[in-house]
Structure formats: structure tokens, C-alpha cells
């Protein structure tokens, strides 16, 4: 029995042409289908179309030989009919996790919305919201109910979004890149939750650019390329014997192994923090120490990898290091002369002036002696064609790369990267990692590399700091830590990534 079925699905979008070119797929209850593919393949458009959202776009044209839900033809459904399906029957975790929660509303209201739409009374709603948040792996869910998205870390927002999609008990759950901002442990937890839901009979459509990540839960895998399903089959078979070149490429480029090249001899201390503390107001009324006594040193010519749980204070530490926020305790010292620090932010879109095009963004950030814009773009694998575009007109991966190019334009002594490759497909990701390593070697850059992806961190860092609950629980040369993790949490992380 199939729950969701699409045949010959075609979508034409204004300005982008035919984005989906005859996609066929079926989804049965208790089944998980993973859709993978490189950036821009049409995965997100597919997800939105299955919920009838693309159809609402005035310029979009959607046709399908067959589009049915639960045996019902939904191809010709009116907006009203779609609305009844959404949330209760089909739910969606949007890819744009950092911006997909209404900044003015509390977590409770946002996550509980699918229930509220159906008139579930408030007290019952609250219990289910807490349950869903806990299920999505958000710690102290109850105390966070009153918080708003701006007060949450990137990963927390993503988990809240997932919770908002599963809380309604939909029969079909479509998750678009649900773990990009999550550390390995949490990602495992989230995938486990999805797996559980599948086991309870829900149909799951999991979208990702990361074949490996979805391999855990997927029953079947479909590979999407340029709007077409180029390969599909059961997980084991497809992973074992990939046929299509795209599939092979996606599998081959997965990061693995230690940092290549000789061990670097670290230079002078550029930034050092001792006993850093940063507290935020917590919703309950007290304060929460996002950073709680951290000692950290950034040295020239060395990459410090920062890994850790989502919400453990990685971004906060980055903000303290670059001086965007003042610590509430501890001290911070800079080398003399002060090093130039540049940041690759976790949410690049928000860090671009929406009125400026890429050319202007790069020009403003460029310091004398830095490469020309064209060269900068080439380094991050982008074409000069995007120079005239504004940030909103870029895909998620492109934005992230422009943010890296912008940081490089400042010829920094220290580069702080907060999840710089989370939105990139593995091929592009590999290129960026290579670039960072190269720069460091050639120019003696000090790099702080924040990521939830242990494999990625291992590939670029010389030293690694493992964070949990605002503290550095373990630190040391990367290979030593990976080989013999001292702290149980580190062991747990490595096991989860395994």
C-alpha cells in the first residue's frame, strides 16, 4: 500500500526554468525514503511541491501525471484542501532552519501550532509540545518553552523545527536537511526519533546532500540530479553498488582521515582567553552561563577545531574571541600588534547587507593586498556570474562560500569559521577544506574551526577542543584526542559519528 505517490511530476519556476523534470516516487507507511543529491538538484522544491506549497506561488507551474495521497488524487486540490492535509497528514521540516521560526513567537506557540490549528486545547498542547521537543533532543525543553528563536543556538532552532513538524502526528513527514546544524550525537538522536516515528507507521521522506548521514534510517534511497531521479533502490544495494556517477561522487567525497600534510609548528599566541564566562538571561528569570570558564588560545599557523554538542556554547565562544561580545568573567588578551580577525558566521544570510550585491560585499571587505574579487570567488569555487546577485538570490551553499570569500578578502591573521561547510554538498565541502588548509600553510593563519561534524574537524584541525555545557571538557592535538578520547562525552561523540 502506498501513502504518497507522485508520477511524472514537473515543476517550472519563474526565472529558474524546469526545476523538476518528471519525478516519480512512492512512499508507503512505515517506510523511509531518502532523497539525496547535490546542491540545487531540486530536492527542496520537491519537498515543497508535495505539500502543495509550490502550487501557491503565482508564477509556478506544476503538472503531474499522478499525485495522490492515501489513494486520493490531490493533484487538483484547491488551497483549502491542501491546508487540511498539511500539519495533520503531511508535515514538513523546512531546510532554512535558522529562519523558519517566527522570531516574534515563543517556542511553545511555534511548535504547538500544528495542534492549535486543529483546536487541541492549550493544556494538552503544552504536554505534547514538551514531549516533541524532548523527542527532538532539546534539553530542558520545559524551561525553554517561553524562549524565542533569537535566544536559541542554531541547532536548537533546528530541533525545535523538527519538533514542530512531528508534534501533530502526521502520517507523512518530509524532512529537508534536518541535521545540518546538529552535532553527531544530537543528529543521531534526531534520526533515531525519525526512525521511531517510521517504526510507528509514519512514512518518512528524508532529504539530504549527505548520503552517509541518511544511510542509517533510510530503507530506500533516490538520487536526484538536475530535477530527475537518476538512481533509486534499497539502501544496502544502492550503497554497495552505486551505478550513476552522481551517486558515486556523493559517496566518494565524504571527509575522512586526519589532516593531510606535515604537522605544523604553531607560531605566537594571537588571541588567548582565560576563564571566559558569558551569561545570558534565561527564560526562568535566572541566568544561564553559555560559556562557563573557558581557557582558549589561538596560535598563528594552527587550526583549533571546536566540536561539541549543539548549544554547548561554540558560537558564543566565537563571538567572545572576535570581540563581538564582552565576557562577563575572565580575560582576553591579544598579541601585539593586534591580529586581524575575520569571521565566517553560522548564519551568513543575516550577515550580508540585503541591498548590496556580491561584488559590493567583497569590495567593502577587501583590504589592500588581498586577491581580486574574481580570484576570491574562484578560490571558493564560485563563478563571477554571481557578482551582480544579491544575497537573497543565492542558494544556501553559495551564500556560505561568499561568506568565506569575504572573510578572506580581509587578509585575516585569524579566521574564525562557525559551521562554514554545513550547507555544502560533499564535493564543494572538500574544496573548501582544502582551501583553508592551504591558506594556513602559506600565510600562517590562525584558524578557529567550529563544526559539529567530527570528520570535518579532524580533517582540518591541529588541535581540538571538545565543548559541552559551556565548558571545554577535553582539549589536545587532534589525532591524540581522536585516538584516545579521555572524556566520556568525547567518546560518545566519536562513537556517534562512527
Amino acid at each position: 500500500m502506498t501513502l504518497l505517490e507522485a508520477a511524472g511530476l514537473r515543476v517550472t519556476l519563474p526565472g529558474a526554468g524546469e526545476v523538476l523534470r518528471g519525478v516519480d516516487l512512492t512512499l508507503a507507511p512505515g517506510e523511509c525514503l531518502a532523497v539525496v543529491g547535490e546542491s540545487g538538484a531540486g530536492k527542496s522544491v520537491l519537498a515543497r511541491t508535495l505539500l502543495g506549497l509550490t502550487q501557491q506561488d503565482p508564477g509556478a507551474r506544476v503538472t503531474a501525471e499522478r499525485l495522490s495521497f492515501d489513494g486520493r488524487d490531490v493533484g487538483r486540490l484547491r488551497p483549502r484542501g491542501w491546508r487540511r492535509l498539511r500539519g495533520r497528514d503531511i508535515s514538513l521540516v523546512l531546510q532554512d532552519a535558522l529562519q523558519s521560526l517566527d522570531p516574534l513567537r515563543t517556542l511553545e506557540a511555534e511548535v504547538g501550532e500544528a495542534l492549535a490549528v486543529r483546536g487541541v486545547p492549550r493544556p494538552r498542547r503544552r504536554a505534547r509540545v514538551i514531549e516533541a521537543l524532548q523527542g527532538a533532543g532539546l534539553p530542558d525543553a520545559e524551561s525553554r518553552l517561553g524562549q524565542r528563536p533569537g535566544e536559541l543556538s542554531g541547532g536548537m532552532r533546528q530541533r525545535a523545527l523538527i519538533a514542530s513538524a512531528v508534534v501533530g502526528g502526521a502520517r507523512v513527514i518530509i524532512a529537508d536537511e534536518p541535521t545540518t546544524a546538529l552535532d553527531a550525537t544530537t543528529a543521531v538522536q534526531v534520526l533515531a526519533l525519525l526512525g521511531r516515528l517510521r517504526d510507528e507507521g509514519a512514512a518518512l521522506l528524508l532529504i539530504s546532500h549527505d548520503l552517509g548521514a541518511v544511510a542509517r534510517v533510510a530503507d530506500r534511497i533516490a538520487v536526484l540530479s538536475a530535477g530527475e531521479v537518476v538512481e533509486t533502490g534499497p539502501r544496502a544495494a544502492l550503497l554497495a553498488a552505486p551505478v550513476h556517477p552522481v551517486t558515486r561522487a556523493l559517496l566518494a567525497a565524504r571527509p575522512s582521515g586526519a589532516k593531510p600534510g606535515p604537522t605544523v609548528v604553531p607560531g605566537a599566541d594571537l588571541i588567548s582567553g582565560a576563564g571566559l564566562v558569558r551569561r545570558y538571561r534565561s527564560p526562568g528569570g535566572g541566568t544561564l552561563a553559555a560559556i562557563d570558564g573557558v581557557d582558549v588560545v589561538v596560535r598563528a599557523g594552527e587550526t583549533l577545531g571546536v566540536v561539541g554538542e549543539s548549544g554547548s556554547g561554540k558560537s558564543t565562544l566565537a563571538r567572545l574571541l572576535i570581540g563581538a561580545e564582552a565576557p562577563d568573567g575572565g580575560s582576553r588578551a591579544l598579541a601585539d600588534p593586534a591580529p586581524r580577525v575575520r569571521l565566517v558566521p553560522q548564519d551568513p544570510l543575516a550577515s550580508f547587507d540585503p541591498r548590496h550585491d556580491v561584488a559590493r560585499i567583497l569590495r567593502h571587505s577587501r583590504r589592500p593586498g588581498a586577491p581580486e574579487s574574481a580570484e576570491l570567488l574562484a578560490r571558493v569555487g564560485l563563478d563571477t556570474a554571481i557578482l551582480r546577485r544579491r544575497p537573497a538570490q543565492l542558494s544556501g551553499g553559495q551564500r556560505q562560500r561568499v561568506a568565506i570569500a569575504r572573510a578572506l578578502a580581509g587578509r585575516p591573521d585569524v579566521l574564525v569559521c562557525d559551521e562554514p561547510v554545513s550547507a555544502l554538498d560533499v564535493t564543494t565541502q572538500a574544496g573548501i577544506l582544502r582551501l583553508i588548509a592551504e591558506l594556513q600553510r602559506e600565510e600562517g593563519l590562525g584558524v578557529v574551526f567550529i563544526s559539529h561534524d567530527l570528520a570535518v574537524v579532524r580533517m582540518v584541525s591541529d588541535r581540538v577542543a571538545v565543548m559541552r555545557g559551556g565548558r571545554v571538557v577535553e582539549t589536545g592535538p587532534t589525532e591524540e584526542v581522536y585516538a584516545a578520547p579521555a572524556h566520556p562525552f568525547t567518546r560518545e561523540l566519536i562513537a556517534a559519528a562512527g
Partner: protein
């Protein structure tokens, strides 16, 4: 405790504003015309010297200006606004008589303006397709025209059509039936509605395109819910910032509307008093307006904080250098 301190601060703020306003009004009005004429039965009075002297004494106009100013301030401070020069009545009583009528007019007009603006904005965001676009373009035109519609002209047209020609609604206010509120309220509301609609519709469209709106749709939220729970809140932010403006506009508009529709009210009282240089009445009326205004602003500020909790944080450090010099 915190609430008391907050309230005290706001109160002090209102007092300060009233004081400045009273000072400006007092000196400017006294510099520009002679209140004696108002006292002595209107301009052109040919009162004899004894009458002039008597009036000067009675109203303390023979004393130095600074003393008169101090007296006036003292009166405001003790909430006894003194006696009108022109009307033989206490200012407090006069204002008390006229205020309700203006408030009713203003509140109804503001409510209507908001309803019209929101409806316009909703149509703008929900209209789709070819017809939707045409409706939208038309609506925009109507909004612009409404915004630049002079109230005295609009009111005259409405009177001509609905009172003179059709005889459907009364042109003037005899203080008897609710029907007589219709034309004044509409006249006052339309230009404000046009402006509010323009502002809130832009914000609404912007919010409507944001990812969180898509996300809410994916959760099954219908357009009404999306509007009420999500986008309208975002759209209301610029509108809230404008509420002080709208209120000021309402009161200025009330002057015109009250004269046109022969309604009693603070606006008309203020106009007459200002033209007659009836200083105590002008100061009294303007002070009340100032207090009301400060109240509106306080409410709007508070509402802004309620709607947008992001504003509760510390002030932006945009023009402060980062704590650690990292640039150079």
C-alpha cells in the same frame, strides 16, 4: 516596585512635555496678539479705559509677563487651569465638556482607519492571479488618493452626497443620534487609513515572503491564522511606530472635521481659542493633548516591546567600537 518606578518615570516625562508645551504656547501666543481683545468681548472692542483697566486687573495682565507665566504654570501644576479669557467659564470645565466628543470621534476614526487599513493589506496579500493583481493595483491607487485626500474637501463631498442629495445621513451633529457620527468619523478616518494601509501592507508582504511564513503554512496554518498569528504582528511594528503620528494627525484632523460638521469638541475649541489668543484655553487644551499624546506613546512603546521581544535587549552597539580592536 519596578512598575511604580516605571510609572513615575513616565509621569515625570509627561510633566516635562506639558511644561515645555505650555511655555512655548504661552510666550508665542502672548507675543502674537493681545488677549485683552478676547476678554473685552472680541476684537474691535471699544471699551473705555476703566473697562480695560478692570479687565487687566481681573486677569492679572497688568503684571510683568514673567509673573503671568509663573501664575499660569502654577495653575497647571495645581490642575486649576484658570478661566477662559473669551468665554466666561473655567478652562477645566470647558475642556471637560468638549473632550468626550473629540475622544469618541478620534477613537472611532482610529478604529475604522485600522480596520480599513488591515482589510486593504489583507486583500493585497491574499489576492492572486490576474484579477488579484488588478485589484491590488486599484487598491494602491485608492490608498494613495485617500492619503492625500484633504479632509475638508472629502467631508464637503460626503455632506453633499449623503446629506444634501440623498438625505441619508445628517450633515451636522445635534448630539442626538449615532447616525450623525458616521460622516465625521469616515472623513477623519479615510486619509489615515490610506497611510496606515500603505505602511502595513509593505511590512505584511515582506513578512508573508519570509521562511517562517512558509513554515507556518506547512504546519497547516490557514491564511487567516497566518495573518493573525504571524504576519500581522510583523506588519504592526512599523504601524505601532506610527501610532503616535496617527494620533497627532487625528487631533489635527479633528479641528477640521469639527468645524466642518459643526461638532462640539476640543479641536474646534482649540482653533477658536488660538485665533482669539485665549491663552488659558490654548494652554489647557494643548496640555491635555500633550498628556494624551504621551499616554499614547507610552502605550505604543509598551506594545512594541510586547510584540517584538527582540527590542527588549540592550541597545545596539552599532556605533561603538568592538571591545577588542580586531580590525586595523
Amino acid at each position: 516596585m519596578a512598575a511604580v518606578r516605571w510609572l513615575a518615570a513616565r509621569l515625570a516625562r509627561a510633566v516635562l512635555v506639558v511644561w515645555i508645551v505650555a511655555t512655548v504656547v504661552f510666550f508665542a501666543l502672548r507675543a502674537s496678539g493681545d488677549p485683552l481683545e478676547a476678554i473685552l468681548g472680541g476684537p474691535g472692542s471699544q471699551a473705555g479705559p476703566e473697562a480695560v483697566a478692570a479687565a487687566e486687573r481681573e486677569y492679572g495682565l497688568d503684571r510683568p509677563l514673567v509673573v503671568q507665566y509663573a501664575v499660569q504654570l502654577g495653575r497647571i501644576a495645581t490642575l486649576q487651569l484658570g478661566d477662559s479669557y473669551a468665554r466666561r467659564q473655567s478652562v477645566a470645565e470647558l475642556i471637560w465638556q468638549q473632550l468626550p466628543s473629540t475622544l469618541v470621534l478620534a477613537v472611532l476614526a482610529l478604529a475604522l482607519a485600522w480596520v480599513l487599513a488591515v482589510v486593504g493589506a489583507i486583500i493585497a496579500t491574499t489576492a492572486r492571479g490576474r484579477i488579484g493583481r488588478a485589484v491590488n493595483a486599484l487598491l494602491r491607487g485608492v490608498e494613495i488618493a485617500a492619503t492625500v485626500m484633504p479632509q475638508f474637501w472629502l467631508g464637503a463631498v460626503l455632506i453633499l452626497v449623503f446629506a444634501s442629495t440623498l438625505g441619508l445621513l445628517p450633515a451636522t451633529s445635534a448630539g442626538s443620534s449615532p447616525a450623525e457620527l458616521v460622516l465625521p468619523v469616515v472623513t477623519l478616518a479615510i486619509p489615515i487609513a490610506g497611510f496606515l494601509a500603505q505602511v502595513s501592507r509593505d511590512a505584511l508582504l515582506e513578512a508573508d515572503r519570509a521562511p517562517f511564513a512558509t513554515s507556518a503554512r506547512a504546519r497547516g496554518a490557514g491564511e487567516p491564522r497566518l495573518l493573525l498569528r504571524h504576519t500581522l504582528r510583523h506588519a504592526s511594528l512599523p504601524a505601532l511606530a506610527l501610532s503616535g503620528w496617527a494620533f497627532g494627525n487625528l487631533l489635527s484632523g479633528a479641528v477640521v472635521v469639527e468645524v466642518l460638521f459643526a461638532r462640539p469638541g476640543l479641536g474646534r475649541l482649540l482653533q477658536e481659542a488660538a485665533l482669539a489668543r485665549d491663552v488659558p484655553v490654548v494652554i489647557g487644551a494643548v496640555s491635555i493633548v500633550a498628556v494624551l499624546y504621551v499616554a499614547v506613546i507610552v502605550v505604543a512603546d509598551a506594545a512594541e516591546l510586547v510584540v517584538d521581544p527582540r527590542l527588549r535587549g540592550p541597545r545596539p552597539a552599532a556605533l561603538r567600537m568592538p571591545d577588542v580592536a580586531v580590525g586595523s
